[in-house]
Subunit: 290 residues, 2 copies
């Protein structure tokens, strides 16, 4: 017993880094759970939704819930909120710890990077973890969300040396694979590989639900619809902002997808079955990639 | 030891029903594996591809591989081949066992049902198991593919009483949930819930692969593309026939999906973000269904 108490005291004396998380939904909550498993970090959180703050305590996502003012004093501050909120938050901090590392976890990068106030540019690291589910809110969080996934760090040459190291260290602790990318490039690629698929899934879900009754969907959905509509359950609040910030790239990708679908439809309409089969064989090349 | 030998003899003496499977890919192979686990069935198979026949033996998908002529003499005959092949097969049998039950496992039903020769109509049961993966070929088979899934039986009032009972019994043995549906209805619903999602996935895969390099796809695909492109790995041979047989319903569903996507795109182009969010909230109603 004496041993346990003293061991507890020694751990408490270690200099734990204080991590703050703004936004305690799927992304922030999972982060809190994962970081709390380490002795190196003490985790405090803030969410402007009082229900989320209560849930975060109840679900042990953070060690403590603090105010927005208090969270400016942490060592490493994660912004895990919708991307328009990230831009507002970056411009509303008043009393940040001088050498703080601020890491945003948003799905777009170009507009966020260009909105960072000059005086905190060195403190800032732009990150996009390629991890998530269609669920949202504090109860959606789980500690292994980030394990073995990719995190893209953008425009890292504009971040301070300390901030670069600290972010690489914390993402390595999360067992993530770090990729480096220009923020403009990032937004081009994610338009195709993430944002367009979401647009399609939302539209597919709406068009199928307009035509088909609940029972048919439930009974027949093993035939493809279940997978193709999973993304359509994603948070409208979060995706509204993403589409807004990556609008031009997204519109371009939608247009080219529409061309592709239209030409596939024409082959079906014209009963050019050999060409239909060729198009599908071409799509099958995915087997070599994923 | 004596006990085991005698028990073996008793089992051998039981009248096993002989099940024949034409097509030893994912669908037929999985069926063979599942039925072979029972004492009630002896399973023989045929595939016109010699490699598939060899693999089927090697993988123990069937007890024996037989010729196309021999397979007409079984008690229950499954057709697990592309849907155009089903129509050809139904019209090429010459020496079927008199009270045989023939069950087709195709993804379309209307054209198949109307192509069944009158003299074997009572022998025929039209089935569509709502189960499958994007993989194909004998090695893709696994014995639990059908467990807890739905099987749709169409126009069952046109099948004979014995054939109805026998098909219900075998699908129950597979632990499937049986739904009854008109074949015209079936093709309408599956156009929306299965065939349209496949068309979209093939088109998405082709448009993304035309724009994005292998590495970007591999690294960033957790953001939605992986799910949305899984169906694009499906068998072109199989889907060509399905699109051909369900062409009109499919074209109608593609048109309505295109309208939906187009209106969603316009909202994004016009920066009507509140409406964009409303559309996504509407899609979120899926949470109540799936």
């Amino acid at each position: 017993m004496a041993y346990l108490v003293s061991s507890f005291h020694i751990r408490e004396k270690m200099e734990k880094k204080v991590v703050g998380i703004v936004g305690l939904g799927l992304i922030g909550g999972s982060l809190g759970l994962a970081l709390r498993e380490s002795d190196k970090y003490r985790v405090v959180g803030y969410d402007r939704n009082p229900k989320h703050r209560e849930e975060a305590i109840h679900l042990h996502l953070v060690d403590e819930v603090v105010s927005f003012e208090e969270i400016e004093r942490v060592d490493i501050l994660f912004l895990a909120i919708p991307v328009e909120g990230i831009i507002s938050a970056l411009n509303s901090f008043k009393n940040l710890k001088e050498d703080i590392t601020i890491i945003d976890m948003g799905s777009t990068k170009r507009e966020i990077v260009s909105a960072v106030p000059e005086k905190i540019r060195k403190n800032f690291v732009a990150a996009h973890p390629m991890a998530g589910t269609e669920k949202s809110g504090p109860s959606a969080g789980f500690s292994s969300l980030y394990k073995d996934r990719v995190v893209v760090l953008c425009d890292l040459e504009e971040s301070g040396e300390k901030q670069r190291q600290e972010s690489e260290e914390i993402f390595s602790y999360l067992q993530m694979r770090i990729l480096y990318m220009d923020s403009v490039e990032h937004d081009l690629h994610t338009a195709w590989i993430s944002h367009l698929p979401h647009v399609i899934s939302f539209s597919l879900a709406n068009s199928v639900m307009a035509q088909e009754k609940r029972d048919s969907i439930l009974n027949l959905s093993a035939g493809g619809f279940r997978d193709m509509s999973r993304l359509a359950k994603s948070s409208p609040r979060m995706w509204r902002d993403i589409f807004q910030q990556n609008r031009d790239n997204l519109l371009h990708s939608i247009n080219l997808f529409q061309d592709e679908l239209n030409s596939f439809k024409s082959l079906i309409a014209n009963e050019s079955w050999d060409d239909v089969e060729e198009q599908m064989k071409s799509a099958n090349r995915l087997h070599e990639i994923l």
